[in-house]
């Protein structure tokens, strides 16, 4: 009964938190399925940090936060699209460099302009509690169309992902499709980063889809399960935070990791049987 009471209070007091969290969970979790399948986990964490750098720019120079996040993310995607030097160094080095530049850059920017630890914390870790109607519209008009676009081109995209060369022979321009995916991913990450923060966005992009991959066998099922788990962890984490007076974003991350561990145990037990 207490849980229901807490839940009702949460809905009444923080409706935007729950709406934005739910939207973010659905969008990021479904995108995350492809991040994992394409084995570009480091790309997603690097892009989350690059979006944070954009937010830092916005904070310091008084730009609209979304503009800053999208600007730097677009630059990050463009940088990743440059033909790499994989014959000499692994691609991960470029990602690590991007991650380091973005994370240290954002801290330096904010510190240099006299902003305090709280601003840095809010920027890095985000806070779903302060979501507003503007954030909801941002997710609805930017994140949701990105998700719909992804689903609309799922067939050619999967062709390119699973067998790049065969897809190219069938007439698909693999490089352009990959760039399209990373652009959508960049937009999603930047639109979610303001309130999600780099850590929550990363958890929704990686931990939640990983849980779904452990539980479901077919692609559509994996996407549906990922979206559902995303919603469950956002609501459970919010409830946990409200009930025990904890910061909301880390609470959601803890819930997602808890579910992931449970699924891993279940999957292992199933395999051994």
């Amino acid at each position: 009964m207490t849980v229901i009471r807490f839940g009702m209070e949460l809905i009444q007091l923080f409706p935007e938190t729950l709406i934005c969290g739910t939207l973010m969970a659905i969008i990021c979790s479904v995108f995350g399925v492809f991040v994992l399948l394409k084995r570009v986990v480091f790309v997603s964490i690097a892009l989350s940090e690059v979006a944070t750098l954009g937010l830092a720019f916005s904070l310091v120079f008084h730009w609209p936060p979304l503009l800053g996040a999208m600007g730097t993310t677009a630059a990050g995607v463009a940088l990743l699209a440059v033909p790499d030097m994989r014959n000499r160094i692994p691609r991960d080095v470029l990602l690590a460099a991007l991650f380091l530049v973005a994370s240290s850059g954002s801290i330096l920017l904010v510190a240099q302009h006299g902003l305090g630890l709280e601003e840095i914390k809010a920027m890095l870790y985000g806070d779903l509690l302060v979501c507003s109607a503007t954030d909801r519209w941002t997710l609805l008009f930017i994140g949701v169309p990105c998700l719909v676009s992804l689903l609309l081109v799922l067939r050619p995209l999967m062709m390119v992902f699973v067998d790049r060369e065969a897809a190219q022979v069938m007439g698909l321009r693999s490089g352009l499709w990959e760039l399209f995916f990373f652009t959508l991913l960049g937009i999603v990450v930047s639109s979610a980063s303001k309130n999600g923060g780099a850590l929550l966005v990363f958890a929704l992009l990686v931990i939640v889809p990983a849980t779904a991959l452990l539980l479901a066998r077919r692609l559509w099922a994996v996407m549906a399960v990922a979206a559902t788990i995303g919603i469950v962890v956002v609501w459970a984490g919010s409830l946990l935070a409200y009930a025990f007076d904890l910061p909301i974003n880390p609470s959601i991350i803890v819930c997602s990791i808890f579910l992931f561990l449970l699924s891993a145990v279940h999957a292992t037990a199933k395999t051994e049987r």
Partner: protein, 223 residues
Amino acid sequence: MKDTTIIECHDVTVAYGREVVLEKINLAIPRGVLLPFVGPNGAGKTTLLKACLGLVPHQSGTITCRFGAHPPAYVPQQKQIDPIYPLCVTDWVRQGFFPELGFWNRPTVQQRQRLEAVLARFGLLPHRNKRFSELSGGLRQKTLLARAAVSLADILILDEPTAGLDAQAESDVLALIQVLHREHNKTILWVHHRLDQCAALAPQVCRVEHRGATVEAVREMFR
């Protein structure tokens, strides 16, 4: 149609960076052949086929391809495929319909029947709901071949289809290649290493070397 040339290479040179892999290749491949590409390791067999498909750029010369109404089907080595994708055998084979279906259309009744027939012919029906990661190397290769077989492509290009397979799986895959050629009338170009097997399957081979590629009768090579 048998004598129409599908691929014509004229003085083709291919290089990876500064390393020239193929130099001044001249070659004409007729439609309707079952043609293994043989040669020593690193001779450029796969590179030549990939250059013909436009997957690898060529530095000089001209490559003219007359593949016809449907794009050719390319079958990579099964070890190049990441088995992580949550797709079952049916999903994989259905990908062969992509040039016909495009982005959104669903398979028609005839296409579904074609799919069932190919799955049955390739012995994949008992495995149809298994994921790629749950298949043996031989079944993975059969799945990729079935994807090519289900398409309307007249020309199949296979990159070492028996690489890494045990003797039984190798013989199964080679038998299926013959089926595709004889029963489905496909032109098949494939990279292979064992000349003795080529002799049993095809009357002629394409011998690829760093500085040339020639189509010659298998018996000539045994002289």
